[in-house]
Symmetry: none
Subunit: 249 residues, 2 copies
Amino acid sequence: MEQINPAQYELVYNFFSFTIAAMGSATAFLWLNRSQVASYYRPALTISGLVTFIALYHYLRIFESWEAAYTVVDGAVQATGKKFNDAYRYVDWLLTVPLLLIELILVMRLSRSETVSKSVRLGTLAALMILLGYPGEISDQDNVRWLWWALSMIPFLWILVELFGGLSSSLAAQPESVRGLVNRARWLTVLSWSFYPVVFVLPMLGLEGAAADTAIQIGYSIADVVAKAVFGIVIYMIAVRKTEAEGGA
Amino acid sequence: MEQINPAQYELVYNFFSFTIAAMGSATAFLWLNRSQVASYYRPALTISGLVTFIALYHYLRIFESWEAAYTVVDGAVQATGKKFNDAYRYVDWLLTVPLLLIELILVMRLSRSETVSKSVRLGTLAALMILLGYPGEISDQDNVRWLWWALSMIPFLWILVELFGGLSSSLAAQPESVRGLVNRARWLTVLSWSFYPVVFVLPMLGLEGAAADTAIQIGYSIADVVAKAVFGIVIYMIAVRKTEAEGGA
């Protein structure tokens, strides 16, 4: 990564810290509120909290790595020679992205066989999507990056088809009071996830340098907070309303 | 920040440590006592504990940053060249100030639509207030600071109007036994929050130097303990009394 200025360094630093606080508080909120929902929905909240907990761990590591990669002394940023480790993001996504889809499936309360088959299918597609993105991420050759990007987009588009095709009949079976929220959760998934392949493409479009790197780190942090913490709160709200619609915890 | 003397350094250091202890114990108290209140009030205690938990995290970072910014060797304080990062406060407030208003709304047990609309309105105003304050905080030009201070005061005053206008009819609907406490919680909010814009203005009034910096750090710490930990205990007391008034947990 090319040399950044102190304001950029601090902005990224503070965004990482913000993300740590957001993921930690979402985890506590989701796990403490398990008792507010009917027994059936508790695993959905446990998993929603797991996602933010895993993200909390990785952002603590990312923060450490950012601190170790640079020193700011008397207003000047100096690279220490240690590499900023971005691979933490891929390890995080490999674990959390399948779980995010499983949260959504669990809170819909489908039949057991549907729950299992959809979880396995969507979870596998999500893991495949991340694995196919990584060889491109670590390459600095544009044609290699485009190849793996395109391969990774196949499971991504397949997931979209499943979310808007396969889950639509299940959506119609949801209680009136949560249909809007479940629909919003699907859209939140699609919109926040779409951010990642766009960011991946930026360096291939010639957007480089310290300003672009800063924007990418901040962009990923915001996308992660929306896709994990905000999404988790929506899952909680769905679980609370379904608990009420079904007659209490 | 200009050079401070060892007594000032240690005073701030010990105040940060006091605040860490206060926030950590408030978090444990609020979360452990969730079971003491009726199910409806538990999210209010969860969120009260979240606020002190988020503050705990940020005071740990502030403490670290303070330690890294100075060394005390043989009774003399020396700046290490690393900047004391005050931005942690703004990140903290951005997350906790909306949540503080939501605590108060939740414990009042309004209708669902009122709870949602008031939470969204007050939460947005609170976030706006913090965001508008930050560009002024990082500027050392008085006119820039005054501009952002004035802009930030607009949502602040709007919040006061909501607390004393919009919530007054809801206050009348509270059980007799808690009306006084709810009123006190509103006043605690107003008085502790008023401290922040006053501290912001101090350097513009010519109050600078090591003594002023020391006073500001200690002042913010006390204001944070009152606005978050003490306020959380008041929310807990309201929840306990309302649980009793409504016939038990």
